[in-house]
Symmetry: C2
Subunit: 205 residues, 2 copies
DNA sequence: CCGGTTGGTTTCGACTCGATACAAATAGAA
DNA sequence: TTCTATTTGTATCGAGTCGAAACCAACCGG
């Protein structure tokens, strides 16, 4: 018993806090006729680069199967928030695009409510939390077999700019617009595998 | 490339990070034949005080209905991880108790994996995150109509110790063992409504 | 041309969850 | 006491989600 085991400020309880916040965030995301998975999908498509705007990439991101992702997309498409268009290069893949309605809906993202609460926190707290969560995400991913994801700048496949001002991805063997290179990619591969705590300790890297 | 708009370390993205961690944590909780709601329930019952070890309190905690909570309890009881015993004081309520099997199962809580990742973070980062998350929880709760919950020490209903060494709760008009007074309660009512950012700024309170 | 692989979709079944209706016990009032 | 209202928990039903598996079409290698 001894006060240190059940104390709420225990180190152990951080995971429970995260879990609880997660459940609260999840609960918020039943609105506007969408469910959490659908909100997640809409957000993902909105911030993914063109290689990741596909059902398969969405499935990886959501940590679910392609079949389930397909159903979620069906729901969103039926509601008119996005549409699937054939890919000119590979006729198997269908490229997902947000409609104007979808874009508009994102302005009412229920997670904005969380943002509001975050606004009230001091900047340095937010920064520290962000670093910690990033480290946790990376750690969990590598530990639990999840696919990493990130932004081209820090990606091992990134081969810098080309002559015509675009960026080049060595994995897809294709070019990316500057805009796309700043968006989420499911094929992200960290350049160096950094020691998570080292990155934290350094502060800003 | 003006890193400040879509940079992953943006202030805005903290909510997305939280959401993502939440989904990862959720995904982990499909194991040992339990689902996330069942894990949450088991954990809750394990750390709730005796007033909160009931189906109704669980429903409040999970943010769901009593019916759904009842089903979750059915599943857990059928699997032998807890049992419902009649309450001697009020024949309507059924008191939930963890079995030895349930207690043992908690040792394999999939969230322990998260704890492992947390272990690798520096203490001060963990502390800051905990403070931030606590503030967020409180803020979200008050904003989104959720019931607060906490531990008797800091509760407005708490009336201190009695002669026989127990604690007294003014809300339930009943006594609590010292142990119980350190556990989770669903009827928690913060003594003072503290300014969340003020509490943060002070550091350790 | 022909297997093997990859990307997506569909179908099916198990399960979850919320809404509703319901039973039983309690509380309060007349 | 007796009557009603409230509280606590359960059972049932239907919509919807999700994962597994089957399936199809397109790409790729020989």
């Amino acid at each position: 018993m001894s006060a240190q085991t059940t104390e709420i400020t225990d180190k152990e309880s951080l995971s429970r806090l995260l879990d609880r916040i997660g459940r609260m965030a999840r609960g918020l995301q039943y609105c506007h006729g969408l469910n959490p998975a659908q909100w997640d999908s809409l957000r993902f498509v909105a911030q993914a680069n063109r290689f990741s705007q596909t059902p398969g990439a969405l499935a990886v991101f959501l940590g679910t199967t392609k079949g389930t992702a397909s159903q979620t997309l069906n729901a969103l498409e039926k509601k008119g928030y996005l549409k699937r268009v054939p890919d000119p290069d590979d006729k198997r893949v269908r490229h997902i695009e947000i409609t104007d309605e979808g874009q508009a809906l994102l302005a009412e993202d229920p997670l904005n409510c969380l943002d509001l609460a975050i606004e009230r926190l001091p900047d340095e707290v937010v920064d520290t939390m962000k670093q910690g969560l990033n480290a946790l995400c990376a750690d969990m991913q590598s530990r639990c077999g999840g696919q990493g994801m990130g932004i081209c700048d820090a990606c091992g496949h990134f081969e810098g700019a080309t002559d015509n001002g675009n960026m080049r991805c060595g994995y897809k063997q294709a070019e990316l617009s500057c805009e796309d290179a700043k968006r989420f990619c499911i094929n992200f591969n960290p350049v160096e595998a950094p020691a998570v705590d080292a990155r934290i300790a350094e502060g800003d890297a």
